[in-house]
């Protein structure tokens, strides 16, 4: 092959228009011993390509990459586990609160009753009610068997005023 041929092939090569056969001949030329000094600069390019082609993966490469992937998977698994644990912990806590304080349903009961409508309008009345209630309590605590009519009447009387 003449230097003109090589020059033409090189031009085509750098244009990316060479066929596989032409590239092979180029490679052959540059791997040969009588490379024209003006083309020396291109020699490493083709030699490098050849040496790259020959390079093969080391046998341990596969196992190394596999262990790497596994380690990453394990890390991901652990993150997922931690996340699940968090969600579970919060769920357990909420369930715990619900179980420990099962009073939620009664909330509506106490709201449903409008206690304010049964409240005495004056503080004197309220005091009289309270006193009567406490007197009744005291007499019952003392073991009095008869219903303390006097106190009960007081409670009823003032209650009926605003009923």
């Amino acid at each position: 092959m003449t230097t003109q041929d090589i020059q033409k092939l090189l031009d085509k090569y750098f244009e990316g228009e060479t066929s596989l056969e032409e590239e092979a001949s180029l490679k052959r030329y540059f791997q040969g011993k009588d490379v024209d000094p003006s083309f020396r600069a291109f020699q490493p390019l083709f030699q490098f390509l050849e040496s790259e082609r020959e390079a093969s993966l080391s046998p341990s490469f596969e196992t190394r990459i596999l262990t790497q992937i596994q380690a990453e998977n394990r890390l991901r698994m652990r993150r997922i586990t931690i996340y699940i644990a968090r969600v579970a912990a919060i769920a357990v806590m909420i369930i715990g609160i619900v179980v420990l304080f099962p009073k939620q349903p009664h909330m509506n009961d106490s709201i449903a009753i409008n206690w304010a409508q049964y409240e005495p309008q004056t503080d004197e009345e309220a005091m009289a009610e309270t006193t009567a209630a406490l007197q009744l309590l005291a007499s019952k605590l003392n073991g009095s068997a008869r219903t303390a009519t006097k106190e009960l009447d007081q409670i009823k009387r003032s209650a009926s005023v605003f009923k």
């Binding site: 609160i97 304080f101 909330m107 009961d109 503080d123 005091m127 009610e129 006193t131 209630a133 019952k140």
Partner: protein
């Protein structure tokens, strides 16, 4: 950190909602009879109790003082009185009271006559959260609920003050 904040929020929300949800026995019981005309109902609000400090009680000094001492601790009072079906109402009320929540302080039973139950809700000390009295007699049914931070010793002192007065 975000998770921690979330957890704290959830716990606080839970606690506050259960605190609101805490209802006394009388509410549970009375919700059934809220529109029942046979009941006489009295309610004294916490606000009203704050006004009581300035008021005078028309009683003997010893009794008035004893009552004042108890009133200081009270935050609420609810009374239900009925004159019909008294024994049935009494039985129903006794069954409705949660025995886990309330502790029986004293029960007085008189055959054929009235029964009185005293129940308390406490934290294990002398200060109780609620004092409940249920009277079931032939003529009257009374359900009374005192709430607040009630000193049980003051209650017994008050009872004593009235006992001495009865003897005189």
């Amino acid at each position: 950190m975000r998770t921690l904040l979330f957890v704290i929020t959830v716990v606080l929300l839970g606690v506050s909602s259960t605190a609101q949800a805490q209802s006394d026995a009388i509410s549970k019981y009375f919700s059934k009879y809220v529109d029942d005309e046979r009941f006489t109902v009295v309610y004294i609000s916490p606000k009203m109790f704050q006004l009581f400090d300035k008021l005078d009680i028309n009683l003997d000094d010893a009794e008035a003082n004893a009552i004042k001492e108890v009133v200081k601790d009270l935050r609420g009072l609810r009374i239900l009185v009925a004159e019909e079906n008294t024994m049935e109402l009494y039985k129903e009320a006794s069954q409705l009271i949660n025995k886990k929540e309330y502790e029986v302080l004293m029960t007085v039973r008189n055959k054929g006559e009235e029964s009185v139950d005293f129940l308390i809700k406490d934290n294990g000390g002398d200060i109780i959260d609620e004092l409940l009295m249920i009277i079931g007699g032939p003529d009257d049914f009374v359900l009374m609920s005192f709430v607040g931070k009630i000193d049980i010793n003051k209650i017994s002192e008050m009872a004593k003050a009235f006992e001495e007065d009865d003897k005189e």
